[in-house]
C-alpha cells in the first residue's frame, strides 16, 4: 500500500477530485494548507505599505491506494492539476505499513 500526497493549486482541486473519482478512487482526505516553494510568496499593498506574504494557500490531498494503482493515481493528479505555471505543487508517494478501517476493524487491502 502507498500513501499518495499531493499539494496542488486550490482552483484545480475540483478537477482533480473528479478525475480521481472517474478512475475509481473512493475516498480521500483533503486539507487547506499554506506554504511556499520556488515561487516564494507574493506582495500585497495596504495603504501604500508593501507586505511580503510568504505563504501561499494550497490544497493537500492524501489518498491511500494499492501498490498497483499508485503510479496511475500520481499520473492523474499531475495531468489534471498541471497549469504549466510556477506554483503548481508537488506529488509524492510513501509506503504504508498498516491500514485499519475503524468501523469494522478490517486491515490493509480490505480496509481500502
Amino acid at each position: 500500500m502507498k500513501l499518495v500526497t499531493a499539494v496542488i493549486k486550490p482552483h484545480k482541486w475540483e478537477d482533480v477530485r473528479e478525475a480521481l473519482e472517474t478512475f475509481g478512487v473512493t475516498g480521500m482526505t483533503v486539507s487547506e494548507v499554506s506554504g511556499y516553494g520556488r515561487q516564494k510568496g507574493h506582495t500585497e499593498v495596504y495603504r501604500g505599505a508593501e507586505y511580503d506574504i510568504a505563504l501561499v494557500p494550497k490544497i493537500r490531498i492524501e489518498i491511500v491506494v494499492d501498490d498497483a494503482d499508485a503510479d496511475d493515481v500520481v499520473g492523474i493528479i499531475v495531468k489534471t492539476a498541471q497549469t504549466g505555471r510556477i506554483g503548481d505543487g508537488k506529488v509524492w508517494v510513501s509506503p504504508i505499513e498498516t491500514v485499519v478501517r475503524v468501523r469494522t476493524g478490517d486491515r490493509d487491502e480490505a480496509a481500502l
Binding site: P10, M28, V30, E44, V45, Y46, R47, Y51
Partner: protein, 434 residues
C-alpha cells in the same frame, strides 16, 4: 421650522450611527483578527461614557454662555434649565463629542489597556473636546477660534478631526510601537468590514455636515429660505468631495504602488468626508471637488510618513484625520465664496489672504491647545496606572487578555474556546472548496 426639527431627529441618529457601528467596523476590519473586538469596544465604550458626561457638563461647557476656552460647566449642569424641546440639539452635539473621542482609538490599536482607555476617554472629552466645541461651534464673541480669530469651521475640521488627530499622535508617541512593528506591518484582517464601515460613515456624515446648519435668526421666512438653500449646498458638497477623494486616493495609489485597492477607496471616502467637514457650507461644487481631490491624494501619501518617521499610528488617524482636517480647514481660505455660509470670499475669489490667515491661525491654536492638554493627560495616566498591556498579552492578543473573548471561531466541531481546543482544529475535512 417643523421640517428642521424632524430633520434633526434623523441627523442625530445618523451621527450616532457613525460611531456605533460605522467607525467600529471601519477600524475593526483594519485591525488584526486577535484585536478586532477591543478595537470595536473602544468606540462603543466611548459612546457610553462621553454621552453621559456630555449631559452632565459637556453641553454647559459648550453652550451655556461666554468664555474664551469654555463656558461655565455648572450653569446648565445635567441640562438643568434646558427645555426638553431643545434636548435634540444637545443630543446632536453629544454625538459629535462621542465620535471625536472614538476616532482616536484607531491609533492605539492592539496595545492600550482597556482600563486606561476608560480613564482617558472622559478626561480627554472634558479637557479637550468640550472646550474645543465651545471655541469652534458655540461661537460666542470671546470664544477663541470662532469668535476671536474668526476661523470658519462648518462641522468640525478643527474641533473634531484636528482635535482627534493630534490626540492620536500624542498617545501614539507616549504608548510606543506595537511589538514587532514596523518589521511586521500587521495587515488588515477583514477589509469587507472596513468597506462596510466606510460606506456607513458616508451615509451618517449627511447628518453630521448637513445637520450642522446654524440659522441667522432674522425671521422665520429667512431661516426657512436659508434651510432650503444651505442644506442643498452642504449635502451636495459632502457628496462630491467624497467622490473626488476616492479618485484622488486611488490615483496616487495607482501611480505610487501600481494597484488601486479597496482599502484605498474606503480610506479615500473618509479623507474626503474629513476635509469637506469644515468647508461644507463655505465652498461651491468646484471647491468641494478640489478639496476632495487634494485631501484624497495628500492623505494617500501622508499615511506613509509613519514608516519614515517611526511612529506607530496603527490605523492612520494622523494620516487621515489630522492631515485631512488641516487640508479642509486651510483650503476654506482659498475656495470659500461669499455666497456660502460664512459669506467670505477666499483667495481664489478675490478675498485676499485674510481668510487664509484666519484659517491657519485656527488650525495652529487647535494643534497647540490639544497637543499640550493631551500630553498632560497621557503622561498622568502613563505614570500612574500605565497605558500599555504587557508584551505577552499583546502577542497573545488583546481580545483574549483584556476582554476574555475571541472574535472568530472558524473551526467546525470544536465549539467555543478561542480556537485553543487542540487537535480537532487541524483535523482534515472533506469537500473543501466544493
Amino acid at each position: 421650522m417643523d421640517g428642521y426639527y424632524a430633520f434633526m431627529l434623523v441627523a442625530t441618529a445618523l451621527v450616532l450611527m457613525m460611531t456605533v457601528p460605522a467607525l467600529a467596523l471601519f477600524y475593526g476590519g483594519m485591525s488584526r483578527s486577535k484585536s478586532v473586538l477591543n478595537m470595536m469596544m473602544m468606540s462603543y465604550i466611548a459612546a457610553a461614557i462621553v454621552g453621559i458626561l456630555y449631559v452632565a457638563v459637556g453641553w454647559s461647557m459648550g453652550w451655556s454662555g461666554d468664555g474664551t476656552f469654555f463656558a461655565n460647566p455648572f450653569e446648565l449642569f445635567w441640562l438643568d434649565g434646558v427645555e426638553t424641546s431643545d434636548y435634540i440639539f444637545v443630543m446632536f452635539q453629544m454625538t459629535f463629542a462621542i465620535i471625536t473621542v472614538a476616532l482616536i482609538s484607531g491609533a492605539v490599536a492592539d496595545r492600550m489597556k482597556f482600563s486606561a482607555w476608560v480613564v482617558f476617554v472622559p478626561i480627554w472629552a472634558l479637557l479637550c473636546y468640550f472646550p474645543m466645541a465651545h471655541m469652534v461651534f458655540s461661537c460666542t464673541d470671546d470664544s477663541l477660534i470662532c469668535g476671536r480669530i474668526g476661523a470658519q469651521d462648518y462641522a468640525g475640521g478643527t474641533a473634531v478631526h484636528i482635535n482627534a488627530g493630534i490626540a492620536a499622535l500624542v498617545l501614539v508617541l507616549l504608548l510606543g510601537k506595537r511589538f514587532g512593528w514596523p518589521k511586521d506591518k500587521m495587515r488588515p484582517h477583514n477589509l469587507t468590514l472596513t468597506m462596510l464601515g466606510a460606506g456607513l460613515l458616508w451615509f451618517g456624515w449627511y447628518g453630521f455636515n448637513v445637520g450642522s446648519i446654524v440659522f441667522g435668526g432674522e425671521s422665520e421666512e429667512a431661516d426657512m429660505a436659508q434651510f432650503l438653500s444651505e442644506t442643498g449646498r452642504t449635502f451636495a458638497n459632502t457628496t462630491l468631495a467624497t467622490m473626488a477623494a476616492i479618485l484622488g486616493w486611488l490615483l496616487i495609489e495607482r501611480i505610487m504602488h501600481g494597484k488601486a485597492t479597496s482599502l484605498g477607496a474606503a480610506s479615500g471616502i473618509v479623507a474626503g468626508l474629513v476635509a469637506i467637514t469644515p468647508a461644507a457650507g463655505a465652498v461651491d461644487l468646484s471647491g468641494a471637488v478640489a478639496i476632495g481631490l487634494v485631501s484624497g491624494a495628500v492623505c494617500a501619501w501622508a499615511v506613509g510618513w509613519k514608516f519614515r518617521l517611526g511612529y506607530d499610528d496603527s490605523l492612520d488617524v494622523v494620516g487621515v484625520h489630522l492631515v485631512g482636517g488641516i487640508i479642509g480647514t486651510v483650503l476654506i481660505g482659498v475656495f470659500s465664496t461669499s455666497d456660502g455660509a460664512g459669506g467670505i470670499d477666499g483667495l481664489l475669489y478675490g478675498g485676499g489672504v485674510d481668510s487664509l490667515v484666519d484659517q491657519l491661525l485656527g488650525v495652529l491654536v487647535a494643534i497647540v491647545y490639544v497637543s499640550i492638554v493631551t500630553t498632560i493627560i497621557g503622561l498622568a495616566i502613563k505614570y500612574t496606572m500605565g497605558l500599555r498591556i504587557s508584551e505577552e498579552a499583546e502577542v497573545e492578543g488583546i481580545d483574549i487578555t483584556e476582554h476574555g473573548e475571541s472574535a472568530y471561531d472558524l473551526h467546525t466541531g470544536t465549539g467555543g474556546g478561542g480556537g485553543k481546543t487542540g487537535v480537532l482544529n487541524t483535523a482534515s475535512k472533506e469537500g473543501v472548496n466544493a
